[in-house]
């Protein structure tokens, strides 16, 4: 496939990594922000091909992982209501709430459906005017334009039975939080390519300068990641805390302006709790008051829920790059993708699931 297979050629990746070996003179710790990149790195074994000086730590860019447990519990309560068709991306169904997950709600008779796009949820709302269709709108900046568009469409079509349970998070505040954390080891970032496709990277020079860390916009194929690492290490070796773009075929400095406009129209900034990490100021989006009638949290009376996390799970430290999945005593036993204790073992973007799935169960 065009624009895909070229970036999976082993020869090109090896050549790029050979260049990296020539450039690197000292140890560096890089964080790839996006869980999609974590999976690509582990799946293709890129981490094992890197020169020993380079260590990759895995970032918080897994929306399923950072969605707060309180909201999962709310989702479970809403999905259990008989009038509701609860729609979600498939990954969310197995994420443990305090006591159960969406799969068990479905098994108990709840109408929980997996959709590919929020437009599919909108279609369900039009086809089922006597039911309440709720879409679990989680995700980073990449998913915000589709979710925002579903609200505009529902408004345009006059749909009264469609609402979103919103848990949007943004990358730049998380980068600040990681860099400010005591014990931070991150010296450079591979920025999430598709977040930047939407938002551009105009927010990053300020971060790079303030903390003295280079930031390189990076794609998802092996060659993209190798190129992102090479560019970041070149900047580090040259002592340049600058922003680079190793995914120029997809990402521009300004990003997708029409998408940013729709995000601004529908969402407004808010503090957001990140599962395992805590509340990060101004790190999320919620619906603007003018679209409050599409807010599932307001539409459904869901009582305050006291969440309970597994005491064994160290997902929070993993998501901040402080620990790796193998450092967790529960990894592989009792925590597995079939019986996860934390969201990082569930998601297709979670670091624990990547390590488990691609056979990194022992050091």
């Amino acid at each position: 496939m065009k624009h895909l297979s070229e970036y999976r050629e082993a020869e090109r990746v090896h050549r790029t990594l050979n260049r990296l070996r020539e450039v690197v003179t000292q140890p560096w710790v890089l964080m790839e922000i996006c869980g999609g990149q974590t999976h690509a790195i582990v799946r293709h074994g890129l981490d094992q091909l890197l020169p020993p000086e380079i260590q990759l730590v895995h970032g918080p860019g897994c929306p399923v992982c950072v969605t707060p447990i309180e909201l999962i519990d709310k989702a479970l309560a809403i999905a259990s209501k008989p009038e509701v068709i609860f729609t979600s991306y498939g990954d969310m169904l197995r994420v443990p709430g305090s006591h159960r997950d969406l799969f068990s709600v479905r098994a108990a008779g709840g109408d929980v459906r997996v959709v590919y796009s929020p437009l599919d949820a909108l279609k369900l709302a039009r086809e089922n005017p006597d039911r309440q269709v709720v879409f679990f709108a989680i995700g980073f900046e990449t998913t915000a334009p589709p979710n925002a568009m579903s609200v505009l469409q529902a408004d345009r079509l006059g749909l009264e039975n469609f609402s979103l349970l919103v848990s949007h998070v943004r990358v730049p505040p998380a980068m600040h939080a990681i860099l400010q954390a005591p014990g931070n080891r991150v010296q450079g970032f591979l920025a999430a390519g598709h977040v930047c496709a939407v938002m551009g990277y105009w927010e990053y020079p300020e971060i790079a300068e303030a903390y003295g860390v280079p930031i390189v916009v990076t794609g998802f194929e092996p060659l993209d990641i190798a190129q992102g690492i090479l560019m970041a290490v070149e900047l580090l070796e040259a002592g340049r805390a600058e922003v680079g773009n190793a995914y120029a075929r997809v990402v521009t400095f300004e990003g997708n302006r029409p998408a940013q406009e729709v995000i601004r129209k529908v969402f407004v900034g808010c503090d957001r709790k990140w599962r395992g990490i805590g509340t990060i100021p101004d790190s999320g989006w919620r619906l603007r008051p003018e679209y409050a009638r599409f807010d599932a949290e307001l539409r459904f009376d869901v009582e305050a829920i006291q969440p309970e996390e597994s005491p064994l799970c160290i997902a929070g430290e993993i998501l901040q790059g402080l620990k790796k999945p193998r450092d967790c005593p529960a990894f592989g036993d009792p925590c597995t993708p079939e019986h996860p204790l934390g969201a990082t073992m569930v998601s297709a973007e979670g670091a624990c699931s990547a390590y488990y799935r691609y056979g990194r169960r022992v050091a």
């Binding site: 998913t143 598709h194 496709a197 939407v198 560019m231 997708n256 029409p258 297709a348």
Partner: protein, 84 residues
């Protein structure tokens, strides 16, 4: 979740006030919302995420990136260049 895959626009049309299209992902054709890429034309490649095109793939930048990477091997014999 932020995974997006490149596909080729093979058709575009309007539905319920949105610009929609058919996009070919290596033989699998899906309906995609093109509202966020008003500049994208039939025949061009877009990155699609949860049913929405979020970016048009730049052929020019793709060529330049691959060319730059092809040249990496020839760096070996030269003094180090000032890379971006």
């Amino acid at each position: 979740m932020c995974l997006g895959i490149p596909g080729k626009i093979i058709e575009d049309y309007e539905a319920d006030g949105l610009r929609m299209g058919k996009v070919d992902f290596g033989g699998v054709v899906r309906e995609v919302c093109l509202d966020y890429v008003p500049e994208a034309k039939v025949g061009e490649y877009v990155i699609v995420h949860v049913g929405f095109a979020i970016s048009v793939v730049s052929e020019k930048e793709a060529r330049e990136t691959l060319k730059l990477l092809e040249e990496i091997s020839s760096f070996d014999d030269e003094t180090e260049k000032d890379l971006p």
